[in-house]
């Protein structure tokens, strides 16, 4: 199996909107797996709602700085109705919105060599300008060389782990879209983000040149 690490830095502010939030726009503290695959799809030049990337790769996430959360009042277009009928108007309303300030994450991707090389080339020279969250939220990427990875035992794990662990921020984040005809549903994963950077527990992890990473 091959692995690729890249550091993604949101240069100003960003918001990973919780899709179930309505009168308040909340944010997840890390980019959901669906968001990261969307960014890779964007770099590859795939069209909107192309879901192929989610079957190609597994992802690991490690926050690199403190989670700085602020709130602002913003004017947002509100969707009306069920979507089954034609709607002409989308009224705007002031809404409280959470945002993250300049977050940095290390993202690890695992897959076959051919896929990893394709993603590596796309991230180095993307087909479109890259953003994460809203389309104005610019990012800067630092892409590392692909490496061969295999599972081996580690005494501690850095970054996000699937399941519930002590001394962690627990979030239920979108993992995968499931398409049924013209409708999409979401599969969620419950994950733990270590507050002190790592979880001290013995686990079999993917070895990214000495870093033990959980790929989900």
């Amino acid at each position: 199996m091959f692995g690729l690490k890249f550091r993604i830095e949101a240069l100003y502010f960003t918001n990973f909107r919780k899709s179930t939030s309505t009168s308040l726009i909340n944010t997840y503290s890390i980019p959901p797996f669906t968001t990261l695959r969307g960014m890779i799809s964007n770099a590859l030049g795939l069209k909107r709602d192309d879901l192929r990337v989610q079957d190609w790769i597994k992802i690991g996430i490690k926050p690199q700085n403190n989670i700085n959360l602020s709130t602002e009042m913003t004017k947002v277009l509100k969707l009306k109705g069920t979507g089954k009928q034609y709607q002409k108007t989308f009224p705007s309303a002031p809404i409280f919105k959470e945002f993250l300030v300049n977050p940095i994450y290390d993202v690890y991707v695992g897959s076959e060599q051919e896929v990893i090389e394709k993603i590596y080339n796309a991230l180095k020279n993307p087909k479109r300008p890259l953003y994460i969250g809203a389309s104005d939220e610019l990012v800067d990427l630092m892409v590392f060389e692909p490496v061969q990875i295999e599972k081996k035992p580690f005494n501690e794990v850095c970054g996000v782990v699937e399941g519930i662990y002590e001394d962690c921020i627990i979030e239920k984040i979108p993992y995968k879209f499931i398409q049924a005809g013209r409708n999409f549903s979401l599969e969620y994963k419950t994950i733990s983000i270590p507050k002190k950077g790592k979880i001290c527990e013995e686990m079999d992890l993917f070895d990214f040149e000495g870093e033990g990473v959980v790929l989900v």
Binding site: N66, N68, L69, T74, Y86, P91, N102, P126, L138, D140
Partner: protein
Amino acid sequence: MNDLKGINMVWLSETDLTNLNAGEGESNYIDVKKYKKDGTEYPYVSGQAMRFYLREAIRRNLSEDEYMCVPDDKGETCGDIFKCINCDLFGFMTTVKGKGAITRVSPVKVSPAMGIFSFDENSNVDFLTRRHRVTEGSKMEGDIVNVEVGTNIYKDGISIDLLRVGSEEIIDEDNRTVKIEPKIDKNIINSRIQKVIEGIGFLSDYSKQARLLTDFTPDAIAISFQNRYSHRLQKLFELNEEGKLNTERFKQILDEVDEYSDQIFFGIISGLLNEKDEKFVKDVFKEKGIEVKTPKEALDDAASSLTSKSE
């Protein structure tokens, strides 16, 4: 010009005492929008506000035959990229009967303006009087309102996707490639991009300007014409709480961006940085053979260079 993909601009703007973008506030208290980083509060101007300032700066600079729509009472724009500069440059989401919503991702990305110095150390609270609406002939009434004001240096940036201005993207499903289909004349596309660059030099329309006349145009600006999509230039300026520039980072970022940049323009006014940092910045550009000018000259040079590239 064919190899060029994007333009990145990042700038610093020093303000006098001002309140450029009010937060949630309370009934008689107008605050400043603030973000918190590692426990300290800093002021900022939202991305929405910055997009508005830029749009209005472009609107003021239109010639008679140019058109820029105004959103209707539902907030919808015309969605016609052939004739409308607003819809072409800033994207839209509009509804079409029977088809649902059509979305155009904005080729111009505008960041919020982030204050660099902490707000508490650089702010004050001022009074203003707010007059009540009264019927004619009755006694004039008003109350005192508190307004937060502060000085700061703000960092801001924009990124322009040159390939998608005046064009639409076609996806080739079989070959998994993106094809860009120009929809309007090359000269018109260039003039629209020039309007964005020139607009930066004429930003205005901020809140509270009836009392707090503020210049919020760039005092130091770097502009790169790139043949690769990258926003690395946005990290060029890092100032500490004393206003000292991180010179090592400045050089590193510039060297990296230089690798995929056709041209880099830089302008700065005297006194924004301390003497030593200003000399350092000028020496770095001298080494690269780039002339350091004023921000206005740098913007003008970038705009006119676009014309010469298309010829």
